[in-house]
Symmetry: C2
Subunit: 536 residues, 2 copies
Amino acid sequence: MAREFEREITAKELEQHFKEHSVAEFFKKNMQMLGLTGKIRTLTTIIHEYVTNSIDACEDARILPEIEVRISELAPFYYEVMVKDNGPGLTKTTVGKALGKLLAGTKFHRLIQSRGQQGIGAAGVTMLSQITTGQPIKVLTGNGKETFACEISIDVRKNEPKIANMQDLKKEFRGLLIKARFKDVKYVKGEQGPAEYLRRTAIANPHVTIKFIDPNKEKFVFKRTVQQIPAKPKEVKPHPKGVTVDELITLAKHTKAKKVVSFLKNDFDRMGEKAIQEISKLVSFDLNKDPAQLRWHEAEELVKAFKKVNFLAPRTDALRPIGKERIEKAMKSIVEPEFIAVVTRNPQVYRGGFPFQVEVAIAYGGKAGKIINGQKKIEIMRFANRVPLLFDAGGCAITKAVNSIDWRRYNIKDIENTPLTIFVNLISVFVPYTSAGKQAIADEEEIMEELRLALMDCGRRISKYIAGKQREYERKMKKETFFKYIPEVAEALHKVTKENSEMLKKRLERLVLERLKLEEKEVDDNEKKGKTAEES
Amino acid sequence: MAREFEREITAKELEQHFKEHSVAEFFKKNMQMLGLTGKIRTLTTIIHEYVTNSIDACEDARILPEIEVRISELAPFYYEVMVKDNGPGLTKTTVGKALGKLLAGTKFHRLIQSRGQQGIGAAGVTMLSQITTGQPIKVLTGNGKETFACEISIDVRKNEPKIANMQDLKKEFRGLLIKARFKDVKYVKGEQGPAEYLRRTAIANPHVTIKFIDPNKEKFVFKRTVQQIPAKPKEVKPHPKGVTVDELITLAKHTKAKKVVSFLKNDFDRMGEKAIQEISKLVSFDLNKDPAQLRWHEAEELVKAFKKVNFLAPRTDALRPIGKERIEKAMKSIVEPEFIAVVTRNPQVYRGGFPFQVEVAIAYGGKAGKIINGQKKIEIMRFANRVPLLFDAGGCAITKAVNSIDWRRYNIKDIENTPLTIFVNLISVFVPYTSAGKQAIADEEEIMEELRLALMDCGRRISKYIAGKQREYERKMKKETFFKYIPEVAEALHKVTKENSEMLKKRLERLVLERLKLEEKEVDDNEKKGKTAEES
């Protein structure tokens, strides 16, 4: 029988009903907040969380990442995932926090261009394994000195890791190997599946080697095409134009500076003497005040003053684009197109305070594009800080930018059905995602503009290549048409002039070829003139 | 200068970088997870969180809710919100937890049809006030015995409430009054604004009186049309067909039963002796086992067995629909239509284990519909457990169900431009929302079917009403046409028969009226026959 509480509950009684819940309990009920929703998306998100952590850890330790992923089907909708890297590994102190406690991590407070989230990813995955299979995840890790294996699960009531079967191992191993099982997930081959996620990760991270074995035992190897680890992104200071009052107060509480004046100078980007003098005139209090004592209305005065003062645009040297040559190498190796155009634009700033940078590549012909029902179609690969975005394409600035361009101007008559692979990477310390899912970029005006410029720049080069191919094709057709009639013409001339018909044929052929060559030169000259005009 | 960490970070060093974060810090960075995103949506969500808590508290205490809301504009994008109720109030022990600590609350673990969330709402709103204005929220509360006022904010680092300026007051007050300020929000009058949210809340909760003063000092009063507080929803036991292995393990850990057999009997809906006997044959272990000792694979065996055994469908007596008459009263009072059809369907079950119930009303003519650019348009009001859903209409099963019906069959030629208000309320302990935003219902097959049936049932009645109006109009036109020619015909007949033309006119008029009455009767008879055929 169901219980009933029909009588009145008083305020006093309510006290006993109040319970506190751990963040793990909360997320257990709201797995979709972690992207762990839907059979297909969940499996891709699991791979994303592990692989992202592996690449970040390797780069932090200045190791060229080598990552192995294996997905095995144990039963319908029941899979085992194995991810192995050659990174710095975890210690007995960090292993539980990294994989068995939500909201613990190293990345939360850093203002740094990064792949990772906020210390939820890998532990969220552990929780998913636990609530779908009842099993802990298995970990093997070593740093060259000590190697150990253990099993990790989460005490959901407390949000604390439970570590079991800890075993010290003799064998030397450097890196991290995780094996975990999941139910209610599904492996698919398509555009939103793990194989495509890893392929795109390899394209945007040409210094990483990824090996993948899918549930059908098919092997994929994406070998690194670049031997250098990308320079580490710098931690940036906030630009005055991009800071909110609440953020300013938080910064003021944690600064080492003893006066507001030195707090401003040390903790903000582009804060010069002149700016500080201007600010001091705009606020009602003395800038020699202790920043820890800063009141809300004073912080508000500061933020208002920041809006009035001219600062240099934010420093952009913390941005770490992949780079034109690296993208080209990776695309050539993995996409294998006939032709490719790559553009890395200069850094720009959105909303006055947030630097970003756009990289675009368009690959044409060859194996570019994707095949749907035997038809070649356009393929758009979206990335934010080198991480592939596979979901919510419709709401993303990148998709909108591609759709906003009149591709017929670039010799592409039917963009949907053209064998193109469009690669777009947005780099920023503050990627403006549209939602918590982090799968679509908001269409900030400045970002849209840069995306469009980069796409059009690549479009122009693709256009020329296609135009060249068309001219070549037309010449070939012209030549063939002429050559088809040469025997007849030669025969007719032979009858009129009595000259040797074989010789006449040869001469006519030479004439046609010379004529075609002349035409070609004219087009080239015109193009060169056009180019000079465009560049001047 | 930005710092660089160019040297290698070892696994040991990483230990020092590990930090733990409070759930408040996490949500501060992810306010969109709480629906607190976008200037317009944020203000509506604030009102929603406060009003929902007020209604729930009043109902728990069996008090007829009387709620006052006032929104004042302090400066552009800067508002003060005041919400006052006549509920049981808070005590000095509960006030901090209820309003100043995330993930603390009374509703988290209850399997009960409810409006509220999981102890995030009101505290999330406190945090928003704090990070946009730096100000605490102000609270005045009393339970008839003691009355006090205080200010509440959140220690974000610890996720603990900070209570300041606690004052005991002499005056008697019963209820809760909250005043809070917010920046970066915007008040709008439209369909997604607070006024519309409150209007719809009043329609779906006809026992609540809501007074609202908008930023232009305009007053709205939605008076209760019903004097009874709805019966309290019962706490339900999970149905065996709807339970996952993880949930079974959690239930087994917290049961008071000492044997699995009594655990099954006491803690599940519809678990009879016969079912237990069948289950005992399907599992590999003894059902006299201690449930606390239940292992994962054993729980898995139980869940598999549940799938094979036939159970009665879940109990549906825990569902608390609004009820046909109450919806009709509320709609007539607030929407003021010309005609209304209301259907409360019988409870049904989706995915085998989750009971739900659908209520639909269609109001036609009068003030029904909404006015856009001077044109009357259709208005669709979506509710889940009496809570208005104002966002994400496109992805919602309710919108899909409305669009899936061929309204032309129901005498509605152009549904978009018809003065209709369609009201739909989905009642369930487990509303299948499409996402964390809780603004759209997933299109579960059984739910779609019930929605369609209810809509079509209302549609039929609306159709008859419209047909009746059309016939009346046609009769009127016919009569007018006949009457127009009667003087001429009477004059002609007078010339032929020499009878008095005035008398001829009267007779002809009587003839026409009798003829029209006869037609009317025929139609009614046909309709009665049709109805009988339909009902048999």
